[in-house]
Symmetry: C2
Subunit: 250 residues, 2 copies
DNA sequence: GATAAACCCTGACGTTACGTCAGGGTCAAG
DNA sequence: CTTGACCCTGACGTAACGTCAGGGTTTATC
């Protein structure tokens, strides 16, 4: 029922030093100590260690992990769902790499050559803004991509920085609403996603509320978009979809 | 045809600093410089960068990458096949995580609880020695696991260190043969894998040449085993399978 | 019941793979 | 011809541990 560092280390395939480190950072403090000062981990501690390892596997920093686990509103099942989605999107990314390798080999054997962009698009994180216009075209607004390209061509470095700051602020605000437990059909929720819509409208291409609703659907249908929002808060992708849908019909 | 750092960075979703770093380490030195000293990357450099990124994605250190790419016997297609196998095994691991999450959620909803080992077995690298005895049982030698457990129970820390050193030496010798281009049915190859067989026989459980051949088949059938050997040298898993098979029938 | 091997503790410095300035030269569009 | 984006070389900072050192504790075994 109570495990010493060494036992936990062997069980979880981590080093003793790693457990010491997590203890220092407050990410995983053992529930008890023996008389002689030995760290003693309980079953609950093991469950938390598993959470730490899942998050680490998904590329979260230890600081982010500390924040997530330290949050009083932390919910294990919710986190597991979030992690499930993120792992799924990671699998898609790796499968894209397999596909890239196959196409590269085919090209070497006289197949069609790959563009420079194709050679690297599987690396690095997925950028939603790059992709939204493209998706929009599939739904009919055939000029979205061109319009977006036309506008963004003139953007300066400072413009992009402003856009990023603005986007982050909007996302932070939404995350705060989620933390407060505000429902997606609450007026504050709809206002928040309306800000997101206006931002797209202003910076990239005309985006009606109906079109925004389409994008919202994609947030939960495409694992890459889902991952983008789930990484901010568990359940955020679905919450946004619902809030955007509510905003479109109010 | 010639790209500056910034262009390469945007294309490959890496930072300029990263490219500087790779240049310092000699992992990716641009083929040219402009008059004013700007780094100029060619298409071939981009292909090499892609290789670096693949290896990095698979958890190789920059030092290992430098060794692999710097090796005069480096072969792009061979490396791509190796990477394909390693990515496949990574996907299996992530799928095991998805399965673990599902079982954890099921357990929370009144399903069967998970053992401590199950909670963590998906993390950390795959240890072949832990698994071989278990697999051996599937082929009939029903006491392999028990025998192995009986023997290893008495092993001291120093014993394990000796075993690891020995195993590494054997693998290094095999890798050297591969580097030399020695064929799997060469006598030297058979001798090398015979040493591997004797090591298993000595440390864990009786392992006949026929049984060893079965293990060899598994090295290419199970992606986790394949990954273990492919990580040492591209093509090593298949080479060992062939050498072991040759050794079993000589 | 002693004695060694294995295990635990707390510092504290080392390492990898970059991030992040600082200070200064270069290029291209208006 | 200037201004914003871009490039250079140091050089120090950082995250997540690895790796001793020095010293106490537990446990298996003789």
């Amino acid at each position: 029922m109570a495990y010493t560092v060494g036992k936990v280390a062997r069980l979880a395939h981590v080093s003793v030093r790693t457990l010491h480190h997590y203890d220092e950072l407050g990410i995983l403090e053992p529930s008890g100590r023996s008389e002689s000062g030995y760290r003693l981990y309980t079953d609950a501690d093991l469950a938390q260690l598993q959470q730490v390892l899942f998050y680490k596997e998904l590329g979260f920093s230890l600081e982010q992990i500390a924040d997530a686990l330290g949050d009083p509103g932390f919910d294990r099942s919710e986190a597991l769902q979030q992690q499930r989605g993120l792992i799924t999107s990671r699998v898609s990314q790796l499968e894209a790499m397999l596909d890239l390798i196959d196409r590269t080999v085919a090209a070497e054997n006289g197949g069609i050559a790959l563009s420079k962009e194709e050679m690297f698009e599987v690396f690095g994180d997925f950028d939603p803004t790059e992709y939204e216009a493209e998706v929009k075209e599939r739904w009919g607004e055939t000029d979205a991509y061109k319009e977006s390209a036309r506008r963004t061509a003139r953007y300066t470095k400072a413009d992009w920085q402003r856009f990023k700051d603005e986007a982050e602020e909007i996302n932070t605000a939404i995350a705060a609403l989620i933390d407060e437990g505000v429902a997606p059909d609450d007026a504050r929720a709809m206002d928040a996603v309306e800000r997101a819509r206006l931002q797209i409208d202003q910076w990239f291409y005309p985006c009606s509320r109906e079109m925004h609703a389409n994008l919202g659907e994609m947030y939960i249908a495409d694992p890459r978009f889902t991952a983008t929002y789930e990484k901010i808060r568990p359940g955020m992708a679905r919450w946004m979809r619902d809030a955007i849908a509510a905003n479109a019909t109010r």
